[in-house]
Structure formats: C-alpha cells, structure tokens
Symmetry: C2
Subunit: 379 residues, 2 copies
C-alpha cells in the first residue's frame, strides 16, 4: 500500500481546501433551493441555513415538514399559505417529506429523488467555501446510460457510466476504471443525480487532482433466475459471480479500459461498501483499490479477524479506504469505527475518514468520493 493512513486532521484540511478564494455557498439573503422545481420560489434557504417552506394547501387542517430528522408544523398565514422556518439545517443534501392531515406527501415545490425505496423531495443546503460538487464552466465528461444483456441473470442490465472529458478527445487513450455502487433502496441513478458525481469528477479532473477515469455506477443487484426463496440482502455470492464473469469483462470489451488490477478500483456506499469489501478482497487479481463509504466489512458476518484480514492485504492493495459521518446512527458509526480499530489492531493499512457533522446522507458520500477519487490510480 503506497499511501499511508491519513489522519482525520489531514482529511479535514483536504476537504476545506477545495473552496478556493471565492466564498461560494455563502448566502447573503433567502435563496430558492437549487433542488426546487424550475420556477418555484420556495423552499428558500436563509443565511443562517434554516429553510423556509411555504405551500398552498387550501383545505388542509395540519401541515408539517419532516426535514433533517425533525418535524416542523407549518402555520397558515393571513394570505392562506402555510409557512414555517426550520432550525438551521446541516449542510448537504437531505431527502424530506411533508405531512398533510396525517398523509405523507412530497413537497409539490421540490424535485424528487429516489432513495430508501421511494421518491422523495430533496433539499441541498450549501456549505460555505465549498464548491467541489457544484456545476462549473470546466470541460464536462458524459454520463452514459448503458444497457446490455446478461446471460447469467437472463435479463438486460442498465448501468450509468461516467466518461471523463478526455475519453472522447483522446481516441487512442485507455483509462482506469472505478466500479462504484449505491446503497440499499437506491439505484444506479443516485450517484449521477443527488450524488453530483459528474460535477465532482469534472472539477477534480479539471484541476488535475484526480486521474481521468471511467466510473461504472452499477445497479449492483443480480437475481439468480434459478434461485428459490428470498435472498439475504447481505449475500452477494451471485452478484459477485455476475460482477467477475460478466460486468467487468463487458466494460473491458466495450470501453477503452486499462485492464490490469492496478487500474481497477471498487467502491460503494452503505450496502455498496459491504459489496466492495466483499468482492474486492475476494479478488485481488482484479482490484487494486477498495473503498467503503458508510459501509464496509467483509461478507455476511462482517468478520474482522486475522483470517479475513491477513497481513498480505498490505502488499496486495494500494488503498483500503473507509469513511463514516460523525452524525450517522450510532450503530452505523460504531460499526465502521470498530472496523477501523480492528484493522489497526491487525496491522492492516487503511485510510479512515470521519465526515464532520454529517449523517447517513449524500454529503458524507460526496465528501468521501472527493477524497477517495484523487488517491486512485496514482503511479
């Protein structure tokens, strides 16, 4: 492993240094959220990062908005509109819902985002000094929606693939590949939509902070047509087979990839982190770099002993990366933190990052990608 363990301090400095000189993300007046439907004024985010919701529900008796883990009742004003201003919100992207007379609904003012197995409203609270995930006037890569046949599942697979700006310009160049998984209750669209992966990578590559790379945002679910009964969501055996025998070979055959392990990484968030550790550590011949954001272990039993994490890992992988938000549910935080401690005890080199003040949410994962991607494929 060429990159030694980074301290939380170094990670935090890395994160803050991205802001540049212009104080982006600082609101000087109430501003419509970027996640609103086009032309919708509310919700607005205020300079103190509270949000003001304002809605027209003419016949409603009670209206609340559930955002940032808290319920806020809206009050009907003299103009007949319901309104509330929340406490200051944590920065980053939050799914949220409204509740009208006891029924959960999406906010009619917001775009909707797929997460936790359903479509929800979303609000993106800007972070002062941080613009690494914003759309900028830099060369843009493309995200391709790719469909191909899988013999093992006897179905078509749909995958989103990020191609760096160099991919089309340099027709003879081959690129390293990061396989990147979403979490449970999400799908292959999450990283490219609320994850802002396109902006993060475009910006990192424009500043030459990350190698131009292909990123395969796999659907990461595979159903064995011959299996019976309900599948354990932590049993990736069949998906691992599809990954190794079909998915990686497909992209090596159809894209200008570099096909050696030094140029292939595997990473994911939450359930996708478990998948990455499981598949990545099973296949050192395929993957040289492994990451798990808010979810990393090894297989169904999440074992952390010397048998599962032998010292040979130190020679096999360039980077093992693990991250967690400090405000994630305590069980999640403890699990990842304990893995980090266990790996230290076993003498397994790894990079451990705690995202300050964020939960099991997309800002933890945007920050983690923003850290992890620049480590990859360095010569």
């Amino acid at each position: 492993m060429r990159i030694s363990k980074l301290s939380l301090l170094v990670a935090a400095v890395l994160l803050v240094s991205c802001g540049g000189t212009k104080q982006v993300g600082v609101l000087t007046k109430p501003t419509s959220a970027t996640t609103n439907l086009e032309g919708h004024e509310y919700p607005k985010i205020n300079p103190d990062l509270s949000a003001t919701f304002r809605n027209d529900f003419p016949d409603a008796k009670t209206v609340t908005v559930n955002v940032g883990g808290k319920n806020y009742p809206l009050v009907k004003g003299e103009d007949g509109l319901w309104e509330v201003t929340t406490d200051p919100l944590v920065v980053g992207f939050h799914y949220y819902t409204m509740n009208v007379d006891g029924k959960r609904i999406s906010d009619p003012n917001s775009k909707e985002f797929y997460g936790s197995n359903f479509w929800q409203s979303g609000i993106d609270v800007p972070e002062a000094g941080v613009d690494y995930y914003l759309e900028k006037k830099v060369p843009h890569g493309e995200i391709e929606i790719v469909k191909y046949h899988s013999d093992l599942t006897n179905a078509e697979r749909t995958t989103w693939v990020y191609l760096p700006p160099q991919y089309k310009k340099e027709q003879d160049r081959r690129f390293p590949v990061l396989y990147l998984f979403h979490g449970a209750g999400e799908d292959e669209t999450g990283w490219g939509t609320q994850g802002k992966l396109g902006n993060i990578m475009d910006n990192l590559i424009a500043k030459k902070e990350a190698e131009p790379m292909i990123i395969v945002m796999e659907h990461a679910v595979a159903t064995d047509p011959n299996a019976t009964g309900r599948q354990n969501m932590f049993d990736f055996t069949f998906f691992e087979k599809v990954m190794v025998e079909e998915i990686v070979p497909y992209f090596d055959a159809h894209y200008r990839t570099l096909t050696d392990r030094d140029n292939r990484a595997i990473c994911g968030l939450s359930l996708g982190g478990f998948q990455s550790y499981t598949i990545g550590l099973d296949h050192p011949e395929m993957f040289g770099w492994i990451g798990g954001f808010s979810g990393s272990g090894r297989g169904p039993n999440d074992r952390r002993d010397a048998e599962m994490y032998p010292k040979s890992i130190n020679d096999q992988y360039h980077v093992l990366y693990i991250s967690i938000g400090t405000d994630e549910p305590s069980g999640m935080y403890q699990g990842i933190h304990d893995l980090h401690v266990a790996l230290e005890g076993l003498g397994i080199n790894h990079i451990y990052y705690e995202s300050p003040g964020t939960g099991h949410e997309w800002l933890t994962w945007r920050r983690s990608l923003y850290q992890f991607a620049p480590m990859l494929f360095k010569k």
Copy 2:
C-alpha cells in the same frame, strides 16, 4: 418530398404489423405493472386491462385513484387494505395520482415520472400484439447525459443523446441526427424514460427498419440572460437562436454527425412540435425533415396561410409529419386536424397520422416516433 401522404389505414397497418408472431402484451392473469417499484405487487393489470390498486393507508378515511381521466374510490377490506379495480384502461402509459382524505399523493407502489411539471405515478398498460417499445435482447445503443457550456445563455446545457449501437462499433462512420423535443411541463429525460425511445430505436435498428441515427433530446428551453419580463412560452425566438448558433454546431463538432440538411431532422411532441415546425421551416438550409406529434403549427400565431406554407416547401423538405391521438382534448385534436386540412388545401405534401384511441399521452408519441423514425434519412 419523396414520401407521399399515407392514409390512416396504411398507418394503422404499419402499427399493427410490428407484433410479429408471438402474442406479446396479452395478459392471461393479473400481472404486476411494469411501472411498479421493484418488488411491489400492486397495482396489477388484469386480462381485460382493468387495473387493481391495493394500498395500505391505515388511518385514511377516503382513498381514490385518478387514472385514465376518472376517479375511482378504493374500499377498505377486512384485511384493512384499500382496494379498487378500475374499468378497462386505454393501452399505453398513463400518469396517475391517488387522493387520500382530500390530499393528492403519488401511489407509494409506483415509480415516479416527471410530467406536467411534477412527479407522478405511472402505469403502463400493455397492448396486445405490440412489442416495439419493449426491452428486447437486441444490440442496444447508449443514452448519454451530455453537459456543455452555452455562451448565449451563460449556463451549462444538459441534454440526453441516443447513440445507435453502430456508433461505437464503427468508429469511422458518421450518422444522421434527429433533434427531438419534449412537451411543456416535461424535460430532456421524458423521451428516454416513459417515452421508451431507447427500446423503440434499438428494436427498429435491429430489424433494419430505421437508419442508425443520433437523437439529441434537447431540453428545448433557453433563457436569455439579458431579457426582462416573463417570456411567452410560444415565443421561441431566443431558443431558435441558441439552437442554430450553439446546439447544432456543438453536436456537429463533438459527435460523428453527417452535417448536411438531408441528414438532419427536427421533431417534437406538443409544445416541442410547435418548436420543430417553427425552427424547421425557418431553416431549410439546416433541416430536411420535420415532425410534430400532438403539436405542430408555425410560430406564435399558428398561421396556416399560403404565406407561411408556400408551395416551395414541397421541394425543400423530404417529410413533413403531423400526428394526433383521436382521443386528445377536442381543441388539440381539432387544431391539428385543421392544420392537416389547411395544408391539403394549400397543396403542401405531408403525412398525417391519427393514433387510434389514444390521448395527449406517451403512447401517441411512442407510436408517432415508431412511424416517423423509419421514414428518416432514406436515400
């Protein structure tokens, strides 16, 4: 114009002939809708094409589902679940909503789709003998999500682009381009999602019924940063400038396009049809083929006189295509039908198609694309 007017009969035959020998789309038992969230059993579509909705709203007092233009009250059963079976539904894709105690919500069992300026549930009712828009094991093109800077709007533009299966395989080949617009209240994702454009084109190209072509699914909105006041939605002057000066040049510079008018088409649905007629007829030097699905006219006043449709059009364009669903709102139907009659009176060659039994909905537009695409770029 090389293709003379097709009769409704011929069009209907074309449409029916796509089924092949296998009776696809015929339901022999109640079947979960393909538009359901993964793993959700209801709504189910029954063999008579009625749909059964079944939902768990434990505290609700009244529940209705609004689908196919009609409200159906759900009844709470002894198992505590709310259920209703609708009348037989019109085939094709329908947006729908539920209403719980007076509040409009999406069906928690359904995927959501963006249309009419908000996210809604959707249900796709299969059509017996019709599989042209279904996912099949054929070579698949890719859909790219492309982002690039526009100087005129001083913003980044995001566009979805269909690339035919041949695009990557035949690296020296150049392809004709169809610019395809969505309707008002939709965005650049509509054609590739509920429009099923990828499947339609993959299947047509696999059967050699359509030329392999690039399809640019433009966002088709451009805001002039220097304009003041609210823009008339039927005034496309600024978007036309962006289209001619930036969008077409961008794709000609960055994709392997054929750049002459004989290899460039413009088409759209509803408001996008008006845009296509306006921009297409203004620029015979750029576009050789024009289509309008459920929306076609010419500019703000929708003029249909000899000055706006001179006979020279007959020599300038290979195809003018107009379509409308027979069950669209009467004003929409009458407007398009009257345009067809007016063009006949003016001696302007065109193809006119009425989609039997469908409304201002995606099946009208899937059928229209399925007809229009094979006409394009024939030598």
